[in-house]
Structure formats: C-alpha cells, structure tokens
C-alpha cells in the first residue's frame, strides 16, 4: 500500500481512506468491505483482483459514486465526496469518471457515434455537432471510425467493447473504471481491448482501475490490488509511474 498522499497532490486522482460497506441481510448486518485504503495516481493503470464475492464490485461501485460507503472517506480528483448529495455526485461522475462494463452496455437505440458522444452531451456545454465530431475522433482512436453510424447490434463483441472504451474516454475523465472489460471476449479481442486501454492511459494520463479475473491482464498493469473477503490482501505497487 502506498503512503497516503494528501489530496492537495493534484496527481492523486483517487483516494480511499477506511472505506467500509455493510448491508443488512436477513435481519443481521453483513460487512463486505472492512476498511479499504487505496490511492491511484494520474496515469496509473491498476488491476483490482480477487475471487468472486470478495467485494470488488461493491468497491468499484463506491469508487464510481454509484453506491455510498458505510464509513470512510473517498476523494475523486481532490474532492471529498462523503457529504455530497445525489445531484452533486451525479455531476462529479459526469466530470471526472468514465465507465467500461463487462457487457459493453451501449444504448441500442443510438448509433455508435451517438453512444460515444453521450458523456459529452450529458456533461453539456457543447454543441451536438461538436460532440459528434469528438465522438468520431474517439472512434478513430479505437479503430472504428468507419462504423460511426452503425448500431451497436451490427458490431462484433470486440468492436462493441472498443466503442464502450471510446465512450468512456471521450470526455477525458480523470479516472476510468473498467469492470471486467475483457471478461466477455476471446483472447485476441481481449488483448486488443486491453492494449487500447493501456495506450489511452499512457497517451492521456487517465488513471485506470481494471477489475479482472484474468491474471494475464492483471500482470500487464502498473499495479495490482487484491481484495479478499473485503480486505486488501495484497497491494503490490512495484512500478507506479506518474
């Protein structure tokens, strides 16, 4: 575990301090996260691993501001989040976070370019034509400029996931959260998508957390945090580069 950095350090895009999460189940309280401390720096690509049921997804939801921790503090791009209401958290998500899910989750009613432009349109302050132009650029970076007007259903699984990566990165988030981004792909596509994440992470300096079961992927990340039974079991950050 790296030494806690103050949030004044603008290179720290994510900081967790003593994050716990408890659920009520069958009349008793079950704690699934027991005080997680974590820090991610700009440009860092970190693998979050652990067996099923270890609390990875819960932790990712908390980091993604989709769930509130029971206790502890969470900073996103230097902003402490525990006292923010739903509207402020939503705004913070649109400003600083990007998501890639296991099953791409593109909106079937929209074209690829429109899907990619969505974070820009949600954030606002941009003309739709400019958002679409930027989306087409992002699609070009993932090698799918020619499929801009296609519907997600017309694309292969690997292509769909590349569109999802383009969507996650189009608004230049400080932090990208990828939940099993290659979990549903064959090896070739899996490698392609990971390389894409890696390249964009290097080029743009985006902090990336990749939840993965795939040890080949985890090994290629800058760092690796293993969660077991709601604890950080292993935090091997041997080559963090800023």
């Amino acid at each position: 575990m790296a030494e806690a950095t103050t949030t004044d350090d603008e290179n720290v895009v994510l900081k967790l301090a003593g994050i716990t999460k408890a659920f009520e189940a069958a009349g008793s309280i079950v704690e699934v996260l027991h005080g997680i401390d974590l820090e991610l720096r700009r440009g860092e690509l970190c693998a979050l691993t652990g067996p099923s049921g270890s609390g990875k997804t819960t932790l990712l939801n908390i980091i993604g501001l989709l769930a509130k921790p029971t206790s502890g503090a969470l900073w996103i791009a230097g902003q402490e989040t525990s006292r923010l209401d739903d509207a402020a958290l939503t705004k913070l998500r649109s400003r600083h976070l990007g998501f890639v899910f296991q099953f791409h989750h593109l909106i079937g009613a929209l074209s690829c370019a429109e899907n990619v432009a969505m974070p820009l349109l949600i954030r606002g302050g941009v003309r739709p034509s400019a958002a679409l132009a930027k989306a087409t650029d992002a699609l070009e970076q993932v090698g799918l400029a020619d499929r801009a007007s296609a519907r997600p259903a017309q694309l292969s699984g690997g292509q769909q996931q590349r569109v999802a990566v383009a969507r996650a990165l189009v608004a230049d988030p400080a932090l990208l959260l990828a939940d099993e981004p290659t979990g549903n792909l064959d090896t070739a596509n899996s490698d392609a998508v990971f390389e894409l994440l890696r390249r964009l992470n290097r080029d743009r300096g985006t902090g990336v957390i990749v939840v993965t079961h795939d040890s080949r992927i985890a090994e290629r990340c800058d760092s690796r945090v293993e969660i077991v039974d709601g604890w950080v079991h292993d935090d091997s950050r041997w080559k963090v580069e800023v």
């Binding site: 649109s94 998501f99 899910f101 989750h105 909106i107 009613a109 739709p128 969507r167």
Partner: protein, 406 residues
C-alpha cells in the same frame, strides 16, 4: 432539454411498432372525443339556433301585479277568502323610452326594440282567425329576431296599413301579397290592412297567429297609444342573456325573462346532454392515459439497464424523468393529431353519407380549429400526466442495481 428530447425520440423510434400501436390507440380515443364533441356541440347549437330563430334573447314586460294575500283577522278568521289576480294584458310600459335607454347602456346588449303586442282577429269573408298583433319598427325588430331571412314572399317593410302574416295564417285566410284583410281587436272595430309579405318563422303557432305591422299602427290597434307592451333584447353572447336579464330587471324595475328562463326544459335537456358527453370524454381520456402509462411502464422496465448507464455517465435524475415525460407528451400529441384527422374524416363521412331529403347533412357537426387545438392540448397534458409514474420510477432507479440486473 435537447438531450432529453433526443433520447425520448430515439427510444420511441427504436420501438416503432410499440409507439405506433399506442399512438393509434390514443388516436382512436381522441377521434371519439373529437367526433362526439363536434356532434353534440353541433346538435346543441342548431337546437338553440332554431329556438332563438323566433325568440328574443330577453323579453322585458311590465312588472306583474300580484293579488293581495288572503287577509286573516286576529284569531284566524278569514276576512277575504279569494283574491283575483289583476288583469295583466291591459298593462303596458309607460316610460318605455327611459327603460330602453337603460337597457341599451348594458354592455352585453346588441340590439333592442319596443313592441306593441296584443290579441286580435283577422277577418276575410266568412273566415275569422285569432291572431297576435305584433307592432315594431321593421329594421329594429329584424335586428333582434330574424324576420326578413324567414320571408317566403314579399317584403318586411311595413308602415301605415301594411302587414306581414304568418304563412299558415295567410293560407287559412286565403290571402297573398297585395290582398287585403280586416284586423280588429276586442275593443276596436279595426280597419283593413294590405298584406306586404308572408313569413315562415319555423313554428306552427307563430305561423298561424303572427301579424307583423308598424309600431305606431299596432299601438293604435291594440289600444295602447304612446306605450309599449314589451321590449325585446338581443345580447352579444347568448349565454349572457340570463345575467343581462337580471341586470335589466334590477335597473328598470320591469319584469325581465331570458330565453334560458323561458326554455327551462330545453336548458335542462342540454345540460344533461353536456354532462353525459363530459362523462364519456372523461372516461375515454382516462383510458387513453392508462394506455400511455402502461406502455411507458413497460418501456421503463425494458430500458432500465440503459437508464442505469445514463445515470452512471452522469445524467441527473431530472434528465431521466424528462425523457419519459416527453415520451408521454409526444405520444399524447401524436395521438391527438392522428385522432383529429380520424375524427374529422368521420364527421365528413357522416356528413356525406347521412343526409336529409333535401340533401343537407342530417348531423349538424360543429368543427372548429379550437376543437383540434383543445384535443391537442388535452391529449398532450394527459400523456405527460400518464408519464409521471413511469418517469418517477425510471428516475428513482439505482444505477448500479439497474446495470447489474437490468
């Protein structure tokens, strides 16, 4: 709002069949509302028009004299057992000019005319018919009750010994334009008048009894020189008649009766008809709204994963809420357009297919741009209201949960 409109329209387009079906459903509902409203409004206004074709909106007559009540002495002994009502017919408005000035100052009054009216009989040869002598300045009476429009032959431009007769009366007397007829009353021998026109007022009683002449001639014939027996008033808006009538009674001290009061049974029938039409429209609207709501509820379930993704990407709850409210409103509005066209087509079809013997339409539909405007507004609002519950449900979705479980 641009994003919300974009997403709402894309979601609807994505489920074209579902959207088309519900828009058609709403359209049929709106068509029923448009058709029934056009039909009932048309029927009612034609009925009122026919009723008011021969009646003034307000009739002002002298204050009715009441008989004194039965007088009782102390102890309950009856002093006067029976009191007769004074004879009303003989009375007339003495200062009708003053009363008319007051009436003409009322804002709703469009036209008014003093009349000398009285019973009499028309004699020609061996035939004698009971008649109602109506004397008024032709142009002024015509401004209150359409007479010239109803002329069968001749003209309504009477002065001196000129008269215009009801069509049945002329037939019974066997006279036509240019013929002479003697008119008399209970108190005068009367004189001979010249028929200048024959009028069909649409009602048997009027056609059988009406004799129209100049105001002055009728004053003399009915024995009320210089006086008027009634003032007829036309108001700008027919439903303002009641209020105007009350104002006239209050300000002149005369008896005033509106057409609504004179046709109380008709008014009761019209208002119960309106109430039943409103009920039908209300229930059609409710079923339209329920249809829209059920489609949107299904749509929210189908799209919950996408809603979750949008929320994760930073779309506010209000954005999600508006996406579904807009869909409700668009379905309502599109349904209103389809329904208005369908309703209009139905009325035109009925007009063309069901006609009277003379070729005129049997159903007097009242189709106005306001009707379609109202249908559009009502259906759109109903659509938005129908969208409230599904939209709130979508906005309340937990994004993490929605993404995981759909």
């Amino acid at each position: 709002m641009r994003l919300e409109w974009f997403l709402a329209l894309r979601f609807m387009w994505d489920q074209r069949l579902q959207s088309a079906l519900i828009v058609t459903g709403v359209g049929i509902g709106v068509a029923v509302m448009v058709f029934i409203t056009a039909l009932i409004t048309g029927l009612q206004s034609s009925l009122i028009e026919r009723t008011l074709g021969s009646q003034p909106h307000v009739i002002v007559t002298p204050l009715e004299r009441e008989g004194r009540p039965v007088r009782r002495a102390e102890g309950g002994e009856v002093l006067v057992r029976h009191v007769e009502r004074p004879i009303q017919q003989a009375r007339s408005i003495d200062e009708w000019q003053k009363a008319e000035r007051v009436i003409r100052l009322l804002p709703e009054v469009e036209a008014s005319v003093p009349l000398a009216i009285g019973p009499g009989s028309a004699v020609r040869g061996n035939t004698e018919e009971g008649v109602l002598i109506i004397g008024a300045e032709p142009a002024r009476l015509d401004a209150v009750i359409p007479i010239r429009k109803n002329l069968r032959v001749g003209r309504y431009d009477v002065s001196g010994v000129d008269v215009v007769l009801g069509v049945e009366l002329a037939k019974n007397l066997g006279v036509s334009v240019g013929d002479r007829v003697r008119l008399r009353t209970a108190s005068t021998e009367g004189q001979v008048y010249v028929v200048r026109g024959i009028v069909d007022m649409g009602g048997r009683e009027m056609n059988r009894t009406w004799v129209l002449m100049s105001f002055r001639a009728a004053q003399t014939l009915t024995g009320q020189p210089g006086r008027a027996s009634a003032i007829y008033v036309r108001v700008r808006e027919i439903y303002a008649a009641e209020g105007t009538s009350r104002a006239i009674a209050g300000q002149t001290g005369l008896t005033s009766r509106s057409w609504m009061e004179s046709n109380a049974q008709l008014m009761t029938a019209l208002s119960s008809q309106s109430a039943s039409t409103t009920m039908i429209r209300f229930f059609v609207l409710v079923s339209v709204a329920i249809g829209i709501a059920s489609v949107l509820v299904v749509s929210v379930i189908q799209r919950s994963k996408e809603v979750g993704i949008l929320r994760a990407m930073g779309a506010a709850r209000a954005v999600v809420l508006r996406v579904f409210l807009i869909q409700g409103g668009v379905i309502g509005a599109a349904g209103a357009v389809v329904g208005s066209l369908l309703g209009f087509g139905l009325t035109q079809g009925f007009r063309a297919l069901i006609t009277n013997a003379d070729g005129t339409p049997f159903f007097p539909f009242s189709i106005t741009p306001q009707l379609f405007g109202l249908a559009l507004i009502v259906a759109t609002i109903a659509g938005v209201i129908a969208g409230v519950v599904p939209a709130r449900r979508a906005a309340a979705l937990d994004p993490a949960e929605a993404i995981r479980n759909g």
